[in-house]
């Protein structure tokens, strides 16, 4: 058929670039095909259709080019790529994964900062009432004398307390400026969208990680092959980078070799179990001890706050104790965990879990203390409200006493008695906690890594034992501690950002400086780990922790928004009974009437409860479907594995391990051509649920085993095998090679330990 031939030629032309031929051959075949099409397509008639088609093609090409350009631009915008590559090539992917995580957090915080800064801080500063015009925006008379002192500023009191950094500064005017910008509404919505955006971003990242790890579901099967053929990055065009890459490939090979050897070791089960139980008991004791210590210190600080003349230590005792616990407990856990002798990847997860429990206990105890504080302040507020009311009244009376017709001069904002403003207090507490956390981290790095490295390097010349090889030697980069520190820091930011909008800005600065500081510290004072293990699969573990922290930090904020009354004289919600009333107010006043009606219908429990039930059912259903797919996947993999092993066994002339397969083979060997059809007919007949039919030689086995997914799986099975560019893989039965006994032993025994690699990159401070 001429039409078919023309279509064929057209298809050839469009896929010419995919053909693995020499360019000369491609060009000549192309010319031929084009001549053919020209000659005969004219006969089929073109006309206007061709022009439109050409236009469509041009647009498609332009679109592809635009997408490519945009992707290029996006990759150029990603910062610190080179820094991370450098760290990666010297320390392996696990250390670099921390920095990649840090960069990701920086990106997320930057977006949050943009939201808060652009939608809340800037409008208030530009269009709201200026500093000093209202009581809430002015430093009270009593504090003005000390408001500029550094010690006061360091505690975030004084001028900082009455600035746009904290909740208390914001005015509760419904609209501000000539743009009629609804600030209280914006404040509330930004607070919610901070959590919403973070949730979305974390879950998207988790989904992407999950996707990638199922894509290489065969990961364990091809580790070395992939390392060999896909590890060199052809994009490298710079000798230094090439050096880094060579180093990193060598490290990676050594990693895998060690991994391989680890899996060959034997174990003594009972001793191991006993030691593990012992270790867990010890660690639980530690956790309880630390919990009690914090509780004790918090109770003490409550009594301190009632006393006068408290020293610096008493005021900051809680923060100091928490930081010290955070600094000393993780190494303690690690030493105890040495008893357990887990595979390092699993050991890492246990360590992370324990540190997580520790930090969680700390954080929640801290929150409890804060809640006590807040409740006290709320009680105080009632008293102050009365005082303010009577003071203002008194001021009016006294001033009108002088001239009965003139309006009374307004009371200077600094003199108005001020409520305790619990929100700002909460904000201040979080900011102080964050700042002290930052300081402790940096000092730990400086002392623990840098000073130690300097000491080991320079004092080694005049010390009795070799400091570099023995104690204390150079520090290794503590991945788990750092990642958890980052995650908990983010949790605190999420908790505090509603009450201190400036907190996210402080965090952005912190992450920025952290990146440079830690990169420098790692390159100058750390050495690569002795046992290097890839942490790439832990990425989802970190994300899972982050998600958990996000929820845990959402809870206190949601609780305070829903159930605590806002202060009467500070913040954008002052004067309301509850903070969320701002939404109702906006709906009533700013939207047309029917919107309010719609919302009132939607908020009806009769509608919400069925909606929630529906969502629960949907989750259950999707979960069931996902499980079924996973099971099907596992079955497929098993079959492929079985097929490969069977082929290998056959080659070695060994008896098949599966007698059923052997029988079937004997049956089928004479009829290789027509094997697929009779086999499939056989399979269809054998619908017994407990027999797995043999992994077919033609790759077309269907395995009815009673699972609900049989039909779907069979459909999946009957997809044709992937057609390669060259001849299709000959998966048919092959005659066994004449007499080729291949010794199929285990891979050779463990290579004598190489320990730390060559000295070129294992010593610090180059």
């Amino acid at each position: 058929m001429l039409m078919e031939q023309v279509e064929q030629k057209k298809k050839l032309i469009s896929t010419m670039r995919n053909k693995p031929w020499r360019m000369v051959k491609k060009l000549s075949v192309l010319r031929e095909a084009q001549a053919f099409v020209e000659k005969f397509e004219g006969a089929l008639g073109k006309g206007k259709g061709k022009k439109f088609y050409a236009y469509k093609m041009m647009m498609a090409k332009k679109w592809v080019k635009f997408k490519r350009d945009f992707d290029n631009f996006k990759t150029q915008c990603i910062p610190w790529e080179m820094k991370i590559k450098e760290v990666e090539s010297h320390f392996g992917s696990s250390v670099a994964s921390y920095f990649i995580f840090l960069r990701w957090m920086y990106g997320m915080n930057l977006v949050l900062f943009g939201l808060i800064f652009g939608l809340v801080i800037i409008p208030e500063v530009l269009m709201g009432m200026p500093y000093g015009s209202m009581p809430r925006k002015t430093v009270p008379r009593a504090e003005q004398a000390t408001a500029m002192d550094f010690s006061v500023l360091w505690d975030f009191e004084g001028y900082i307390k009455y600035s746009a950094l904290f909740y208390g500064y914001y005015n509760n005017q419904r609209t501000i400026g000539w743009l009629k910008y609804r600030l209280p509404m914006a404040y509330f919505m930004v607070g919610i969208s901070v959590f919403g955006y973070s949730l979305m971003v974390v879950i998207r990242s988790m989904a992407r990680n999950a996707n990638e790890s199922t894509a290489d579901g065969d990961d364990d099967n091809f580790i070395f092959s992939w390392k060999m053929f896909t590890s060199w990055d052809y994009l490298i065009g710079n000798p230094e980078t090439a050096d880094n890459k060579f180093a990193s490939i060598t490290t990676s090979f050594k990693e895998s070799i060690v991994d391989e050897q680890e899996s060959n070791k034997d174990e003594n089960i009972h001793l191991r179990r006993f030691l593990r139980v012992l270790a867990n008991v010890l660690i639980i004791c530690c956790l309880c001890g630390s919990g009690y210590l914090i509780y004790f210190v918090v109770k003490r600080s409550q009594t301190f706050s009632k006393m006068q003349n408290v020293g610096w230590y008493e005021r900051n005792e809680v923060e100091i104790v928490m930081s010290l616990l955070g600094m000393f407990c993780p190494p303690l856990f690690e030493t105890i965990a040495a008893l357990e002798n887990y595979h390092p990847r699993i050991g890492l997860k246990w360590q992370l879990g324990r540190i997580f429990a520790l930090f969680l206990g700390n954080l929640y105890t801290f929150l409890l203390a804060l809640m006590d504080d807040v409740n006290e302040k709320l009680a105080e507020e009632d008293v102050v409200k009365n005082v303010t009311h009577w003071t203002l009244l008194g001021h009016h009376n006294s001033s009108t006493g002088n001239s009965s017709t003139a309006t009374p001069p307004p009371l200077d904002p600094a003199d108005v008695p001020r409520g305790p403003c619990w929100e700002t207090t909460v904000g201040i507490e979080f900011v102080r906690l964050t700042v002290s956390d930052i300081l402790v981290t940096y000092i730990t790095i400086l002392v623990g890594d840098f000073i130690r490295a300097c000491f080991v390097r320079f004092v080694n010349y005049c010390w009795c034992w070799d400091l570099e090889a023995g104690f204390p030697s150079y520090a290794e980069f503590d991945i788990s501690g750092n990642v958890l520190g980052l995650i908990f820091n983010q949790g605190m930011i999420w908790m505090g950002s509603f009450y201190a909008p400036g907190l996210v800005g402080i965090n952005v600065l912190r992450l920025l400086t952290s990146m440079y500081f830690q990169c420098w510290a790692v390159m100058s004072s750390n050495v690569p780990h002795e046992r290097v293990f890839k942490a790439s699969k832990s990425n989802n573990f970190y994300m899972g922790l982050l998600l958990l922290i996000l929820f845990l930090s959402l809870l206190p904020v949601a609780y305070t928004i829903m159930s605590l009354p806002p202060s009467f004289d500070c913040g954008p919600f002052s004067g309301k009974k509850r903070m969320y009333e701002v939404i109702q107010e906006t709906i009533e006043l700013d939207f047309p009437l029917f919107v309010a009606k719609i919302f009132s219908y939607v908020a009806n429990p009769g509608l919400i409860i069925p909606a929630i039930l529906l969502m629960v059912l949907a989750i259950y259903y999707l979960n069931a479907v996902a499980e079924a797919y996973q099971r099907a996947n596992a079955e497929l993999k098993k079959k492929m594995q079985m097929q490969r092993e069977e082929e290998k066994n056959k080659r070695n002339n060994k008896a098949s391990t599966n007698p059923m397969l052997q029988d079937l083979e004997d049956l089928l060997t004479p009829s290789t051509k027509s094997e697929s059809h009779p086999k499939q007919a056989e399979d269809e007949k054998r619908e017994s649920p407990n027999r797995t039919s043999p992994a077919g030689k033609g790759g077309k086995a269907a395995a009815p085993d009673g699972s609900p997914m049989t039909a779907g799986r069979r459909a999946a099975f009957t997809l044709p095998p992937h057609v390669f560019v060259t001849q299709p893989p000959a998966l048919g039965v092959r005659a066994p090679y004449p007499g080729q006994p291949r010794p199929r032993g285990h891979p050779p025994g463990p290579v004598p330990g190489r320990g730390r690699g060559p000295p070129c990159y294992s010593r610090a401070a180059q």
Binding site: M23, D216, P747, P752
Partner: protein, 187 residues
Amino acid sequence: MGNKQTVFTPEQLDAYQDCTFFTRKEILRLFYRYRDLAPQLVPLDYTDKPDVTLPYELIGSMPELKDNPFRQRIAEVFSENGDGNMTLDDFLDMFSVLSEMAPRDLKAYYAFKIYDFNNDDYICKSDLEKTVNKLTRNELTPEEVSLVCEKVIYEADVDNDGKLSLEDFQHMIIRAPDFLSTFHIRI
């Protein structure tokens, strides 16, 4: 689009666009890159299809290739005679296959050819050893190299002949998650 170039005839340009993954602009840019390697050898007018071949040394000195441990093999695979000397056609072909638009199958085919050092259509143990040594710049001990090669054969050799055929290789590399992103040269 502007028709101001005089290097190729429009038909030639279209043919190149059909046979590679590049756009018109990219093909011209590649031509100028090729010419910059040896301006005195490469004429500015390709309309009569001159027969110009650049020696391997010039190709291997390109910034994109000079740090690649496999540059010699790449040039050999894409050249006419397997000696590394490339015409413009070969040059375009090479970068087209190594560009990010090329599909997996195509890249896998050429990757196999590149890693087959002795050109016998099989990747045997000696090929693997050469690959590992090039990748690690001879920093692994012979035992480690041997271990790695044996593991690779164990993992990927399906038909059990002790070496990797094209099918074995493709079967293994098609699933690799990093293959597309590493087997890629941007020009």
